[in-house]
Symmetry: C2
Subunit: 339 residues, 2 copies
Amino acid sequence: MKHLSLILIVFVMACSAKPEKAEELKSGPITLVIHGGAGTIRKANMTPEKEAAYHAALQQALDSGYAVLKRGGKSTDAVIAAIKILEDSPLFNAGKGAVFTNEEKNELDAAIMDGSNLMAGSVAGVTTIKNPITAAYAVMTKSEHVMMVGKGAEQFAQLNGIEIVDPSYFFDSARYKALLKAKQSEKDKAAMLYDPYTKDSKFGTVGAVALDQYGNLAAGTSTGGMTNKRFGRVGDAPIIGAGTYANNQTCAISATGWGEYFIRLNVAHDVAALKGYAGLTVQQAADSVVMKKLPALGGDGGIIALDRQGNFALTFCTEGMYRGYVNEKEGAKTFIYKD
Amino acid sequence: MKHLSLILIVFVMACSAKPEKAEELKSGPITLVIHGGAGTIRKANMTPEKEAAYHAALQQALDSGYAVLKRGGKSTDAVIAAIKILEDSPLFNAGKGAVFTNEEKNELDAAIMDGSNLMAGSVAGVTTIKNPITAAYAVMTKSEHVMMVGKGAEQFAQLNGIEIVDPSYFFDSARYKALLKAKQSEKDKAAMLYDPYTKDSKFGTVGAVALDQYGNLAAGTSTGGMTNKRFGRVGDAPIIGAGTYANNQTCAISATGWGEYFIRLNVAHDVAALKGYAGLTVQQAADSVVMKKLPALGGDGGIIALDRQGNFALTFCTEGMYRGYVNEKEGAKTFIYKD
């Protein structure tokens, strides 16, 4: 009798298992695309060791995220896995390697969006969260809100079991020296923005876009913002539609660059809108926004974009962008400079 | 000789005065459209006195903003003039009438955008700025940033001569009672969102869109957010592309509603994109986003939208929206319920 019940339960479970919808199976192969920031990245300023370290970190992020996709995981989980690796590396301006604010703090921003249901979460100005992308995911999945800032966001993260660290965890001597240099060259209010060194150093945002086997897109972005930033400045990374956006109907986008211009142009949503309403491909849409509109307004930076068929773009109008992608056809590839 | 020099200077000035471009003159008549929030606004719950008070406040806001446009002022200045009136009234959830957070504070958000150059400014989570819309304008015009939050934003505002008040200025006994009621009915985390009273009270955002005689559009939004809000929650009002957007190429939009849905749908930028890329009119674009996409996702609220030809929409999927418009052809009109 006991056995019969068990067989019956297994039978009922098997019958009620929802088959994949035909439409969902039409989507392209699992794909992960990442970036680690765009800017004036020159071969002349690099050492072979530094170059190798960047490639290795990007490769590790691709491996970590792709492993999630390969074992049938969700695109949101792949995005988180990839971004956590980049957040934990001191090489990128996110998490561990976040730049310093004018007040010599590290204030972190992150966002994530699920293209299957347009759910989104973001945090801004947090100083004690080890992996801000995980806090953004908690906001998306464990609250009715989309965006939380400052102490409130930290309190929410802590209540939801997100790993909290002492602010000293984010201390990095190279980043600290960059702040001192930025402050030194700051002759007036505008200097911090126009100084080439500072301008470069604000482009270290990291991000990922993924397509899983269920045909769902996701996008995530994480950053330490701008060296020497003041006044509770928030950039584009945690702004849904500016630095981060995902929609199965169009594409998933993560941006890196001069945040103010990305907000004013609604870069991420504009790329999606050009694909959805004007019929452009992801590459055409990315080119239109990043190579035309952005420089025309005086900004620069780059984006990664991925659609449901697995088409993707890695587009930047700066000298370089730390970036990479992985899919079954081409395997994993990482890049730093323009080809 | 002195007179000759003076005549010469005046002559040179007259000759160098830049004539209006032909394209600019093609734009429509000066127009101002405002809203004071959307929600379950029912005639049954109103008194004639309360109704008259709302109409009077909306009328005053229209008068104040339209006076700016009539004397040749800019659309950004008209937007600020109208919003300041609504912020100073206790009737609306912005400025003086802002709702209370869970911690019994008033945390205010505001944004402004100039459609002629895509400049934008916003503040979020400020507690001491009398008119947050003026602080957003200062961020836009006196900093290289777009968004500032919390104490940093307040510090920036104070440094730039924005009027600072003691947080007690925002105390309003009716709003405070609303918080107590919301807290009382809050049986679990989700209750604050699903309680009908609370749901209603989070829709009091105010906003304005304007078209000036130079053919330039502007949009602005200001809010106290959501009654009983926690964890540094930020809604759509200060998010460029979500609650506020302006672009001379398409239209100017200010939104009011359940902020999370407006962020996830990028409501303001989506309306502009539907006009710009899909060729819809402002009314069609507003209907598509507010009457279809928004309810389909489970959200509600409304928007005002205005294009460069003076075409405008006041669209909401709630029972009512405090709103009004003024132009030369029709004069000033104010409304509360559905027609």
